[in-house]
């Protein structure tokens, strides 16, 4: 057993280690150490808590930690890098529900009525935010995994339903003050917040997922903070608010990447089949098709090739093949860089992780601001499974739902090769004039198969 003062001191050390760990995450070189630092902080917080409290039922502790370690460890080690967005969503949800369950356990224990008013309101918020995080993350998981339809839903009533659910949940959180052990209030709060998690995320389309995942990340932190207020536990408050801040920053960056506000993402699904302006009617332009031989020739004769990876790269699991192609081109003296759009893929930094897995040097990954001036000098752009992020209507057509979204200027390059499954528009459902551009060649088929063929052709030439 250690004293309360020692426990608090250990929590302080843990909080400092979390902050140091996050700081070290700002450079790829120090990042692995940063993650380890933060893990040590967690270990100290857990160990100190165990030493400070007398364990009445060790079996319960072993069941919880044992099952959690096993499931978490296996998931983390087995997961494919392409499935990372789903896993992050799932872990987010579990963190949220854990916070909610801690509060519920506090409320259902004997003498719960003796809890202070502020603790109860904070606890109510912990349940509310935690449950929204859980259900929101599960819906996001389902959409990413393809179990739930990924399309956006536009509805005039849904935002109002969500608002009502939110207000009702807040009212029940407040009502806990009068009757913390009243099962009707507690269960209503639990039920409403679970429903709100589903209805809140259900309407959000696949292309908006990076915003949603980042937002759910922020919520999982805030749930921990709220639980910290309920339990008067400072380390929960500090760690939770750090995560909340990080999630809010990422959400903001993702919103800027689409030139939309968080409210707009949450309440207005983009590109539903009401034909919102700025579309080139199917067949409205001539699509030039190229064979892999022609494409390979164009690539080998270039001096600078810019690769634009998108979600299609992840779907086709073609990250290693893209790197092989780049290697072959580099052997022939072609310079290859990658254009990274902040919202390409399904979570913040999704494409970066995939390319890192394929051992692509991160110095070749160029941000939007850095790469856009390079397009006019590029001989060939290779678009692999990206769509909305290279759609020029975002620059030109004020009536388009994606107008104003910063895009990669692939249309300004000498020529453009687009690897695509079919002429189907992207998740936003908006046609892309880049495909009918004079200087664009489409190569249809599975991105990975096409890339494998390109690698072979480039090698031969």
């Amino acid at each position: 057993m250690i004293s309360t003062a020692s426990l608090q001191l250990s929590y302080l050390v843990a909080a400092v280690l979390f902050i140091m760990g996050l700081r070290q995450l700002s450079s790829p070189r120090t990042a692995p150490k940063g993650n380890a630092t933060s893990a040590v902080g967690m270990l100290i917080a857990v160990a100190a808590t165990l030493l400070a409290f007398h364990i009445v039922k060790p079996v319960d502790f072993l069941i919880g930690v044992g099952a959690g370690t096993l499931i978490g460890g296996v998931l983390a080690l087995r997961i494919q890098m392409t499935a990372m967005p789903q896993l992050v969503a799932l872990f987010n949800g579990l963190g949220g529900v854990a916070s909610s369950l801690v509060v519920l356990a506090e409320l259902t224990r004997p003498k719960a009525a003796a809890l202070a008013g502020s603790s109860l309101v904070a606890g109510g918020l912990g349940i509310l935010i935690g449950n929204i995080t859980l259900m929101g993350s599960l819906v996001a998981f389902g959409k990413l995994q393809g179990v739930i339809p990924t399309g956006a839903i536009r509805s005039r009533t849904l935002p109002w339903v969500n608002l009502m659910l939110l207000l009702a949940s807040l009212a029940f959180s407040g009502a806990l003050i009068g009757a913390p052990d009243n099962p009707v209030i507690v269960l209503s709060l639990v039920g409403l917040s679970l429903v709100l998690g589903v209805t809140g995320v259900m309407s959000i389309g696949g292309a908006d997922m990076p915003v949603m995942i980042a937002f759910l990340n922020a919520l999982s932190g805030l749930a921990a903070s709220a639980t910290g207020f309920a339990l008067h536990n400072e380390v929960l408050i500090v760690a939770g608010s750090l995560v909340g801040a990080s999630g809010v920053i990422l959400t903001n960056i993702m919103c800027k990447g689409m030139n939309r506000s968080l409210g707009n993402v949450m309440f207005a699904g983009v590109g539903i089949a009401d034909g919102a302006g700025g579309v080139v009617a199917p067949g409205g332009g001539i699509v030039k098709q190229a064979s892999p031989e022609e494409a390979a020739l164009m690539l080998t004769e270039s001096e600078l090739v810019i690769v634009v990876p998108g979600y299609g790269l992840a779907v086709a699991q073609a990250q290693h093949t893209v790197r092989q192609l780049a290697d072959e081109l580099e052997k022939k003296g072609v310079e290859v860089v990658y254009a990274m759009h902040p919202v390409a893929g399904r979570m913040p930094g999704h494409m970066n992780v995939l390319l890192a897995e394929a051992d692509v040097d991160y110095e070749k990954l160029k941000d939007l601001d850095e790469v856009n001036p390079m397009f006019p000098q590029a001989d060939t752009v290779l678009v692999v499974g990206a769509n909305d992020v290279v759609n020029p209507v975002a620059r030109t057509d004020t009536s388009s739902p994606i107008f104003g979204m910063p895009i990669l200027d692939a249309d300004k390059a000498g020529s453009c090769i687009v690897l695509k499954r079919s002429m189907r528009p992207g998740f936003s459902g908006i046609d892309n004039p880049l495909y009918t551009n004079d200087r664009t060649m489409m190569v249809f088929g599975d991105a990975k198969d096409t890339l494998v063929e390109l690698v072979a052709r480039v090698k031969q030439s």
């Binding site: 996050l22 995450l25 790829p28 692995p32 940063g34 933060s38 893990a39 967690m42 857990v46 808590t49 364990i55 009445v56 039922k57 319960d60 502790f61 069941i63 919880g64 099952a67 959690g68 370690t69 499931i71 978490g72 998931l75 983390a76 080690l77 896993l87 992050v88 854990a98 369950l101 801690v102 356990a105 506090e106 259902t108 224990r109 004997p110 932190g221 749930a223 921990a224 910290g228 207020f229 339990l231 536990n233 380390v235 929960l236 408050i237 939770g240 608010s241 750090l242 801040a245 990080s246 999630g247 979570m347 913040p348 930094g349 970066n352 992780v353 890192a356 051992d359 040097d361 991160y362």
Partner: protein, 102 residues
């Protein structure tokens, strides 16, 4: 408002500011590891779960506590392990660059 609550609020607000300061510097390349690493930190709720479980409540409260502990542990263990896996990919490249599949 009690003094205790104000103290807790102070801790919360200051930590939010610290969070904003340190995280604004993270480059886009590391956004996914940042998210999954910070997600592991949000598993700090494991401490709350331990407090609840060690108190040895009976009945419903007991099982809610055990469930909370299991979920939080998945979040912590899984979050840190998967983040480390990702980060190792970001740093391992220079060494393994030559000599692998050509």
């Amino acid at each position: 408002m009690t003094v205790e609550l104000v103290g807790a609020l102070m801790v919360f607000v200051l930590a939010v500011f610290v969070g904003f300061e340190i995280i604004s510097r993270v480059p886009p390349t590391l956004h996914t590891p940042l998210m999954s690493g910070s997600n592991a930190i949000s598993g700090i709720t494991i401490v709350g779960a331990i407090v609840v479980v060690t108190a040895g409540y009976a009945g419903v409260a007991r099982w809610l506590g055990v469930a909370a502990l299991a979920m939080a542990t998945i979040n912590v263990v899984g979050g840190y392990v998967v983040t480390q896996r990702m980060l190792n990919m970001f740093t391992s490249r220079k060494k393994s660059r030559k000599g692998d599949r050509s």
